[in-house]
Structure formats: structure tokens, C-alpha cells
Symmetry: C3
Amino acid sequence: MPADLLSAIITLLAIILYFFMGIRVAQMREKHGIKAPATSGHEEFDRAFRVQMNTLEALPVFLPLLWLATYYFHSFTWLPAALGLVWVVGRVLYMNGYMADPDKRGAGFGIATTAQLGLLIVAIIGIVQSWPDA
Amino acid sequence: MPADLLSAIITLLAIILYFFMGIRVAQMREKHGIKAPATSGHEEFDRAFRVQMNTLEALPVFLPLLWLATYYFHSFTWLPAALGLVWVVGRVLYMNGYMADPDKRGAGFGIATTAQLGLLIVAIIGIVQSWPDA
Amino acid sequence: MPADLLSAIITLLAIILYFFMGIRVAQMREKHGIKAPATSGHEEFDRAFRVQMNTLEALPVFLPLLWLATYYFHSFTWLPAALGLVWVVGRVLYMNGYMADPDKRGAGFGIATTAQLGLLIVAIIGIVQSWPDA
């Protein structure tokens, strides 16, 4: 299976997860009667909002790294998508941990960040490999 | 006309709209004397800020979906760009509605979100179509 | 050297800078005892947070423009990456200026925004150049 299709699926999974977090924010807005444009007002809303915002903060890092790694790294073509899957799983754990208790957000966050660092390294190796006359 | 050129134009339109929203935030910051790093302080500033932030929250979903759909979907090559145009129009309506009254942000938001869901479905169909031996 | 490799390196530099800003936010959170999900509470934390958020707000504009320009503009293939480098330097100056004094964030911000406008123009020229039968 071509590597880009695997990374396309991971991209969709990440986006669907992010969609789901956005729905949760809207639900918490409804549940606790927090009217726009306010973005705080109840602990549970704040957690849902921070989960979504923090994942948003990660997307412009995660997606470019995933695709740079997919495009340039040719040694183990499945590796970028595999790291991407780890990122998605880490983000799910982060979401569940944070909603339960902000102090429990560390494990999932650590897993996702490690996957991102892995993608950064794989992208760098890929770019070096793709260097002309190297 | 190649589908990627149409999607490139849509990408530029979305970015120019987002640029414009950022200028509006800066103007409201000036107008109401809200000094950085504060990000609230006057209802009109708050609305302009939320319009931009909410559009920012949508860009890392919209742009990847637009390009996954453009790259993988080959049945009606103009469809991803057409859905992208609907998204841009929806975001303009969202901006104007929100600035007039936060309760009027629903219609534009709904249009943009529907376009995003359409792109998600088109992207999924495209990936399935591109599956080897499928 | 192929233009896409240069832009890939610029993308990595931008992401590494953003990573670094995120680490600074985490350090300021620790230093000033600001517990999640709070995102304000001390001037120094607020600055670090705004530096990261503002750069985040720029990434979904900067990266698509960089890559549209890289992909479609063929007159001076090094130009998109060169403008991208100016953006990264502007963002470093912005970060250092803002942390020293919010009133000093203007110069770096102006440089980065000018680079973005340059990329927008280069992308538009590139798309026009790539137009079939044009």
C-alpha cells in the first residue's frame, strides 16, 4: 500500500478527532450556558476548550511533519503513518485524561509529543537522504 | 482547468479572508485601546477576536481536507474546489453575522461546517477509490 | 538544489521555532505556578503565551503560502524559501521583542508579515503563470 494513502488516513483520523473535540466544546457551551463570545466560565467547559485548543496548537506542527516525513523518508515507508497513529492515540488519551482531571493530561500529551519528535527526526533524515549528490 | 489550480485559488481566498479578519482584530484593539497581551476588554473586540480564532480553528481542518479531496478524488475534479468556495462564502457570512450579533453567527457557521463535512466525505471516497486493487 | 527541499528545511525551522515557543510557555506555567486549564495569571506567562498563539495564528497562513509559492512559482525557484527564511527571522525578532516589552513586538511582526505578503504575491504570480493557455 502506498505510504501516502496511509498518511492520508492518519490525517483524516486526526481531523475527525479534532472535529469530535469541537463538538464537545459546543456541548459544554450549551450545558453550562456559556454564551459566545465568552470562552470560559465553568471548569468542565474550560477543560473541553483547552483540549481542543491544545490539539489545534499541535495540528500545524503534526500535519506538516507527517507529510514531510511521508514525502522524503524512503527507508521504511510505513514509519511516518505508524508514528502518526501513535500521535492520534496519544491525543485520545490526552483528551480523556484532561476531561477526568487536568493533572492526568501528562501521559497522553507525552505520547503525542514523542510521536511528533519522532516525525521531526524522520523528516530530517528524509530530507538529508533526498539531498542531491549526498 | 486542472483541479489543483482551482483549489490553490480557494486556498488563497481563505487565507486572504483570514488576513482580513486579523486586520479587523488589530483595528478593534486600536479602537478600544486594548493593549497586548490582553485579548479581551470590549464586546466588539471580543467578537472580532472570536471570528478570527474560530476561523483559525477551522483552517487546519479545512485546508488538509480540501487538498486530500483534490488529490485523491477523481470523479468530479471540480467538486473539492466548489465545496471550498462554499466554505469561504459561509465564513464571510459567519463573520458578518457574528459582528452584527453573536446569535446570528449560526447560519454562516452551518454552511462552512457542511462544506467541511462534504470535503471529508469526498476525501474518504477519494482515498477508497485510490486504494490499490480496489 | 531542488526548491522543495529548501522549503522543506524552512518548514522544519518554523516548526522547531514554534516547538521552542511552546517549551517556553510550559516553563512560564511552571515558574509562575499557573495551573491548567488557566491561560493567564502573570505578565511574563501572558507574553510567552501570546508569542506562541500569535505564531500559531500565522502558521496556517505561512505554510500554505510557502508551499503554493514553491509549487507554482518557477521564475526564481529559491525565492519562496528565501522569503520563508525572512519570516522565520522576523518571528525570532518578534519573540525576543515581545518577551522584553510588548511595545517592542512591532519590528519582528512587521518583517514576518511583509514576508507573508511577499509569499502571497509570489503564489498569485505562480498560479497565473501555471494557468493553462495563459
